[in-house]
């Protein structure tokens, strides 16, 4: 079998393996949402509704049927691609996810990219020059990043750069009201603006993105920089690096080809982990900057027991993680010399 096809088969197998996991998540999530206290029918019927109208709402939500029946209906709809209605926002769950997921991902991936670009060189420098000023700066950033609550960083940045200095645009979502969004292709405003060639809009989108992105980047800087530093220290102290040095290879070559490539493995794993908790941390940033993302949607839905919305959210997250794990595995085979050869 050609190696390419073999890889594809492996990927397909991995995806297939995820099916029981996702189904399990579906069941647990379905049961958990039902176990939440509170009666969605009573809530959505409104404060003045009488018992009769609450029953009508219950019926329209399909909550009058027994649980197993509800689950069968839910899975049946799901197979047809119908995730139901999010009563709390009045939109179909699928369109909410389609609109909000890119918003959150743009923020999350952007923050991850920025912190990766800063944290990795910083970690490498700190590892190669332990106990110098670079190392101290690294240590300071790491400590600050871990210890500052994300909500606080967001508010503080907003206070300084929007409220006091006026450099940042009004924190009111993804695009200033002056601009019209570019045609939706990916849902990422920045990419869509590039595709449409609307540079002014791109600038505006980046300006809106700046503060929330920095907030999140500060938060993720810490684990990545720390992991890079530790991994680099470890590989720099390992036998093969010593051998390479003894063999007279240039220090640049030793550092990048031998040490760094090996140190990158735990960093990529960390990246995957950071990504997952970043999606959680998003909620607060989304609230502060009025970002129409998936986190704030899920929290609001949870608070009012909006079953369909919560289930849709959990399902999309589960899918996201399946893809993410796969992606990390693929990246692994690309950067790990051993994995690459084995294949």
């Amino acid at each position: 079998m050609p190696p390419m096809l073999d890889k594809l088969r492996k990927v397909a197998l991995r995806l297939l393996q995820a099916v029981p996991t996702v189904f399990g998540i579906l069941v647990v999530c379905f049961l958990l949402t039902r176990a939440l206290p509170g009666d969605p029918a009573a809530y959505f019927a409104g404060p003045m509704a009488d018992a009769e109208s609450i029953e009508e709402v219950r019926k329209s939500l399909g909550l009058d049927k027994p649980l197993p029946m509800q689950f069968v209906n839910y899975v049946g709809d799901l197979v047809q691609g119908d995730l139901g209605m999010a009563v709390s926002t009045g939109q179909p769950v699928i369109s909410e996810l389609a609109r909000r997921l890119p918003a959150s991902l743009e923020l999350t991936l952007g923050a991850l990219l920025v912190s990766f670009v800063i944290a990795v060189p910083l970690g490498v420098l700190a590892a190669t020059r332990p106990n110098t000023w670079v190392d101290h700066i690294c240590r300071f950033l790491v400590t600050a990043g871990v210890s500052l609550p994300i909500f606080f960083t967001g508010l503080a940045l907003m206070y300084v750069f929007y409220y006091l200095l006026g450099w940042a645009p009004a924190p009111m979502g993804r695009l200033d009201m002056m601009y019209l969004p570019p045609e939706t292709v990916t849902g990422f405003l920045t990419i869509d603006a590039i595709i449409a060639g609307e540079w002014e809009v791109l600038g505006a989108a980046l300006a809106q993105l700046a503060l929330p992105l920095i907030t999140l980047a500060l938060f993720t800087l810490a684990p990545i920089a720390r992991m890079t530093r530790a991994a680099m220290l470890q590989t720099l102290g390992s036998d093969f690096v010593r051998t390479a040095r003894a063999a007279g290879l240039s220090s640049r070559r030793v550092l990048i080809t031998y040490a760094f490539r090996n140190a990158l493995l735990p960093v990529v794993t960390t990246l995957g982990m950071v990504f997952s908790f970043l999606l959680g941390a998003n909620v607060l940033v989304e609230k502060v900057f009025a970002w129409p993302g998936i986190g704030s949607f899920a929290v609001e839905a949870l608070v009012v027991s909006d079953y369909a919305a919560v289930q849709g959210f959990v399902l999309s997250m589960a899918m996201l993680f399946v893809v993410l794990n796969l992606l990390i595995d693929v990246i692994y085979t690309l950067i790990d010399p051993r994995v690459g050869e084995a294949a």
Binding site: P37, G38, D39, P40, A42, Y43, F44, A45, G46, P47, M48, A49, D50, E52, S53, E56, V57, S60, V87, S88, T89, G90, Q91, S95, E96, R99, R100, L155, M158, Y159, Y162, Y163, G166, A170, P171, M172, G173, D176, M177, M178, Y179, L180, P181, E183, T184, K287, V288, F289, A290, P292, S296, F297, E300, V303, V304, S305
Partner: protein, 537 residues
């Protein structure tokens, strides 16, 4: 599509999925002479107030985009701000109306030349279809219609294209004002029927996303969870043409962000701000705060009569004498509102809300408690709705201290907003809790109907008194100039204070912050922003 193309097509009505570009045309500052930007903390989840699940923030669409047959006039408040006037019913879609001598038949003449946005004249058929819809769909609209004694399609009759008749089972003073609430909106029935299905005869799915009205503003764009953009309808006939061509309502969930936005002048108005911000922002240059006492609304501490010690009215009175009212007013209300304690011993007026005779008096409270046989006090949970934590939490802590002074040991329980209604209002099982009911229709008897009649929703404390029930029953539909009206209401208030199941703390305010560039704001009982009154300064 570029901005010029868009301008040409700016009257297009479609919203939702079809992405309508809009904003390239705006001047550098979004808030301008033409456009106002309003920030709200909630989210608009439907453009149809009749739909089940439609939340409070969405009521504004019914107010700004639809007309009712009638509306309320305007009055000036003592502080110079403006408020709607419950006692002054004004035409909106109806240009005139007549009420029969026996008070049961109301005949409305629809405004000559009134048209929906698509140009179709407004007819009595539209009115009938719309009111039929409100009484038939169930849920909140039906309940609110019932308050005006409107409960069946048989009551609504088309006389001719411009004449519409409502027949009441018995005369009621609440019928006409109820027609001015956000519920009985007039919908373009032809558009709606064209989009109705067998499963959905009232076109709830269509009107959810596509308003079809005759009101002062159309919806130019709705990005659910982000913003709603109103575009003025220059053909509006229901009142004076509004001052702004366009109003953008943006949803900003974090209160601190909303505050920064209004302080920096990035937005024109911030709706429903907390008391603390209202107090602080009022002192800042460039920001105006309008605080209006919310009519027919009292923040209260309720003592549940199902809870053994509270069965004795002396215990309830003791609680009422143990509350540090002034401190609560300072630390929970930030002095925004109207004190509701320290009144006279006798009820000598029928204004509602009015001050209760209670005040902080630990000696009196202890004496009453001892008299009732609870000298050693008792344990009781004190609950509040987490959605109202901004005022309820500090109030609960101070009440807890007050109760501790007379030996009652209260433990504070926070209840999530989504569960509040079921636990507090439906099951009515919270022994001691903070409550915020306010009635839309501004008559004392309407308040007493909801809050002091056994089984009614806002009687969350199981108060049951046959005398009160008879009084409310006799008075609810009675005209206010009826000779029995004032004595009846006075007796209700006396009973409420004597038996004190609901201890008034203060009358809250609705606070709205504006930049200097906006004028004309008017308070409405529905507590939503009526953008029709706003105008550039």
């Amino acid at each position: 599509m570029n901005r010029r193309d868009f301008l040409k097509g700016a009257t297009s009505l479609s919203v939702g999925a079809s992405v309508l570009p809009l904003f390239k045309i705006l001047p550098a500052s979004a808030a301008s002479q033409e456009t106002a930007v309003v920030v709200i903390g909630g989210t608009i989840n439907s453009l149809d107030i009749h739909r089940s699940g439609t939340n409070r923030s969405s009521y504004q669409v019914a107010i700004n985009c639809y007309d009712r047959l009638v509306s309320f006039g305007t009055k000036e408040m003592p502080d110079g701000s403006l408020s709607y006037d419950f006692d002054n019913v004004q035409p909106e879609l109806a240009e005139s109306w007549e009420i029969s001598d026996d008070g049961t038949v109301m005949t409305f003449t629809i405004h000559e030349g009134a048209t929906f946005w698509d140009g179709k004249p407004v007819t009595a058929h539209d009115v009938k279809w719309s009111l039929d819809r409100a009484v038939s769909l169930g849920g909140f609209p039906t309940v609110q219609m019932k308050a005006g004694r409107l409960s069946s399609p048989e009551q609504f009759e088309v006389v001719d294209d411009r004449t519409f008749r409502i027949t009441l089972p018995f005369p009621s003073k609440l019928a006409l004002p109820d027609l001015a609430t956000p519920i009985p909106i007039i919908i373009n029935s032809e558009v709606a029927k064209a989009n109705a299905t067998d499963d959905d005869p009232w076109a709830t799915e269509y009107l959810h996303r596509n308003p079809a009205g005759s009101g002062a503003y159309k919806v130019a764009r709705w990005d659910a969870g982000e913003q709603l953009v109103y575009e003025r309808n220059d053909q509006w006939i229901g009142g004076e043409i509004p001052g702004y061509q366009r109003v953008i309502v943006r949803e900003v969930p974090a209160q601190s962000t909303r505050r920064a936005l209004i302080e920096r002048g990035s937005v024109s108005a911030s709706h429903n701000i907390p008391n603390k911000d209202a107090k602080e922002l009022a002192e800042k240059p460039g920001v105006k705060v309008v605080s209006t006492p919310i009519e027919n609304c009292i923040y209260s501490l309720c003592t549940n009569l199902d809870f053994e010690p509270f069965k004795d009215k002396r215990v309830r009175q003791a609680v009422a004498w143990s509350i540090p009212y002034q401190k609560i007013f300072e630390q929970a209300a930030y002095l925004q509102g109207v004190p509701m304690w320290g009144g006279t011993d006798t009820v000598d007026k029928i204004a509602w809300p009015q001050k209760s005779p209670y005040d902080l008096n630990i000696e009196k409270a202890k004496a009453l408690l001892a008299e009732a046989g609870y000298a050693d006090g008792f344990d009781v949970p004190l609950s509040f709705n987490l959605s109202h934590a901004d005022w309820a939490e500090p109030a609960a802590l101070l009440i807890q201290q007050g109760l501790a002074d007379i030996g009652i040991r209260a433990t504070i329980e926070k209840i999530p907003g989504a569960n509040w209604r079921t636990i507090a209002l439906v099951e009515k099982k919270l022994p001691l809790h903070l409550e915020n009911f306010g009635g839309w229709l501004n008559t004392p008897d309407y308040y007493f109907y909801w809050a002091y009649i056994k089984g009614n929703l806002f009687n969350s404390y199981n108060y049951d008194n046959p005398e009160m029930a008879t009084l409310v029953d006799d008075t609810l539909d009675m005209a206010m100039d009826h000779p029995d009206y004032a004595p009846n209401v006075k007796r209700m208030i006396e009973l409420a204070f004597e038996e004190i199941p609901r201890i008034p703390l203060w009358q809250p305010t609705l606070n709205v912050a504006f930049t200097e560039s906006v004028e004309g704001y008017e308070y409405w009982f529905h507590r939503q922003m009526d953008i029709r009154a706003l105008e550039p300064a």
